[in-house]
């Protein structure tokens, strides 16, 4: 159920963020369902394939979408996840690394300096973000003594917040910053810009078209969903006793996270590319601080 929700609602998040930004700008803005229409159009279009490219070009997006779908089976939402076993956290992170490996190689396959530039930025940010994600999840592991995402979900919640509020706040902030960085949002990347030289994510997919682009767009919507879901299920889970209420609450928090992303994008400027590592490092530092508070 939670998996299906993710599959269907993920593209809505992008629409929601756009609506928040449109409100702040004072315009009507894109329809909420725009990404659904975009995807419907893209899958029916042809592709232009560069003569330079190899099967890696199409395999990259395919593998990353499938990996993200696999990730979705591991995250709890309003109830334990479809699949749960000790150490599923590690598989989850491994799959995210696979996503990065696949998209970066698909970008490099075109032999364009733009895609290379985006790929270089992506791996730099990714390599720095990796410890941050591990450490923030580690804090939750220590706090809940659970080795699986569903286990953390089961033992996290208001009780944990009252016991270790500060730590949870730190972890929450760290994970939110990572969400911004990993999903190419302001202040790390600007999803709205059309300028090749400043982009990260968009510039990596400059050559993909048609169904392949649809796969990429859908995958990045899923990635945003998964990132928000982690925050919702692990940091702010609801345990009301009713599974339906928990589910509703979980989805609500996911949308709140998207709202917060929109708010950040509406009111702050992008960082200079030189500052991005510091920004990503900050999230690692925050989770490290939380970790020390926990194991001290």
């Amino acid at each position: 159920m939670s998996m299906l929700l993710g599959l269907f609602l993920a593209p809505l998040l992008a629409g929601l963020i756009h609506r928040v930004k449109a409100f702040f700008a004072g315009r009507q803005g894109r329809p909420l369902l725009q990404l659904y229409w975009d995807l419907a159009r893209l899958v029916r279009k042809h592709m232009v394939l560069s003569r330079t490219t190899t099967p890696v070009f199409l395999l990259g997006p395919a593998l990353s979408l499938v990996s993200l779908l696999a990730c979705l089976t591991l995250i709890p939402l309003g109830g334990p996840a479809l699949l749960r076993f000790p150490g599923d956290i590690l598989l989850f992170l491994g799959l995210l690394a696979l996503v990065r490996f696949a998209t970066v190689l698909a970008a490099m396959d075109t032999g364009s300096s733009f895609e290379g530039m985006g790929a270089s930025r992506e791996v730099a940010i990714g390599a720095l973000a990796e410890p941050g994600i591990f450490l923030s999840l580690a804090v939750l592991v220590v706090q809940t003594r659970a080795l699986s995402l569903s286990g953390i979900w089961a033992r996290s919640g208001p009780e944990l917040w009252s016991r270790a509020g500060l730590v949870m706040v730190l972890v929450g902030i760290a994970m939110f910053l990572l969400l911004l960085a990993e999903n190419s949002r302001i202040p790390v990347d600007d999803p709205n810009t059309h300028l090749e030289l400043t982009m990260i994510h968009e510039v990596m997919v400059l050559d993909h078209s048609g169904p392949a682009l649809a796969v990429i767009e859908y995958a990045s919507a899923l990635k945003l969903w998964i990132g928000s879901l982690l925050l919702s299920s692990l940091v702010f889970p609801l345990h009301s006793g009713s599974a339906w209420l928990d589910l509703l609450g979980g989805v609500g928090v996911v949308f709140l996270v998207a709202l917060a992303v929109g708010l950040v994008e509406s009111t702050s400027a992008r960082l200079s590319m030189l500052r991005v590592p510091q920004f990503v490092g900050l999230s690692s530092a925050l989770s490290l601080l939380a970790l020390f508070l926990v194991i001290r």
């Binding site: 700008a25 004072g26 733009f114 530039m117 600007d190 030289l197 400043t198 400027a269 992008r270 590319m273």
Partner: protein, 480 residues
Amino acid sequence: MKPEILSYPEFSKKLAGRHLAALMGLPGRSGSVLMVAVTTPGAPSAGEEAGACPPGGLQLPATVVEGTFPSLTLEHPQAHGFEREFFEEWKVRPEGHPWLKPVRFPQGQPGLTDFFKVSGEEIHEVAVGPVHAGVIEPGHFRFQCRGEEVLHLEISLGYQHRGVEKALPGASPARSMAYVETLAGDTSVGHALAWCRNLEALAGIRVSARAEALRAVALELERLANHCGDLGALAGDVGYLPTASFCGRLRGDLLNLTGLACGNRFGRGWIRPGGVAWDLEPVRAEQIRTRLAGIMRDVRQALDLLGRSGSVQARFERTGILTREAALELGLVGPVARASGVALDCRRQFPWGPYLDPAFPVCTGLLGDVACRARVRIDEMEVSAAFLDSLLAHLPEGPLRVGMRAMAPKAFSVSLVEGWRGQICHVAATDTQGHLLACKVVDPSFRNWFGLALALRGQQISDFPLCNKSFNLSYCGHDL
């Protein structure tokens, strides 16, 4: 004024310490070319009070060249672009020019030139354009990069070459107005004004005070709209949503004010030889004045937000620095040069009509970074808004348009107008029958492009769009 024909060494000496507004060729006797320079006084030194450059002081040194001549660029770097253009047009080679590359590729094959190259297996080139990512004109940018750092940027234009300058002298009056109003679409008023003032000078007529005032209104509205748009675009480039959206809308509102006055949002069809085509009745003038006040209130608020945002200022400051020395040596103009502390402004140097105020403010900056270029634009908007307000309140009386007369034979005329991008220089010469023989158009972009290339050295490539916006130059104004 007539060009003063000198020997080559004297000619070269005459350029020292002066600002080269234009360099053009006129057909001479038996295959030789008369090279005419239009020079204006150089900038006052940095210490002097801003805007101290006194009015007047135009000079027209000229010399006869044939086959080859020693390049002026070595001594006067600001001649580099003019000499390349000269070579392309007249096939007279400036010997020793360090960088004799095509400017406009009139024979086709744009972008086919030896780009400056930093060798080494680590260096990669980024080639951007001609088709850019945004909704902008085409041009080719070649970066030599090591990682994210730009070692060198070379700009190769010419994609927009339409042959307008060549077509100008023989065109019908109606068509030549269409040409000059599309020389650089966002500077329709500036170029139309420079063109008409030349024709009027050649015909020896004076336009009325009212027409001059209305022309000034058109020119300043154009400046306001474009500066406002630029500031919004700068905010957009660093992803700062509020100012970007507000200024984008306000720019449209400012264009609409011009549209209200003459029916065209870019001021096309407003300025005509002998005066202006559209009047501002008192009601309309008052309407523009009130709407302008409202727009400026919103503009101030949007810009205040920009100034207060630390994350924006961090991106603007110390990005894309252009030193005063470089700006002077390369003869840069307009807000770009003023942001680097070069206090030159044609409204002060060659004033006319309502600008005949010895205290007309010239806005300058010190550092020459993106922040300064933004600041100068903000200051100039305030100056223009105040100027417009008083102008619209007291429009002088007089006829809109006086009839044109035949132009003087064998005459030479220079017109300098401070467009929103900077000094626009039009030169026109007539033949023995009083028909136009040759025209020269120098858009401010022609000079400033090189300044952009220089400002990018050692910068992060991701800052290029920001620097580019802070210059915001015209491609077709360069390519003609």
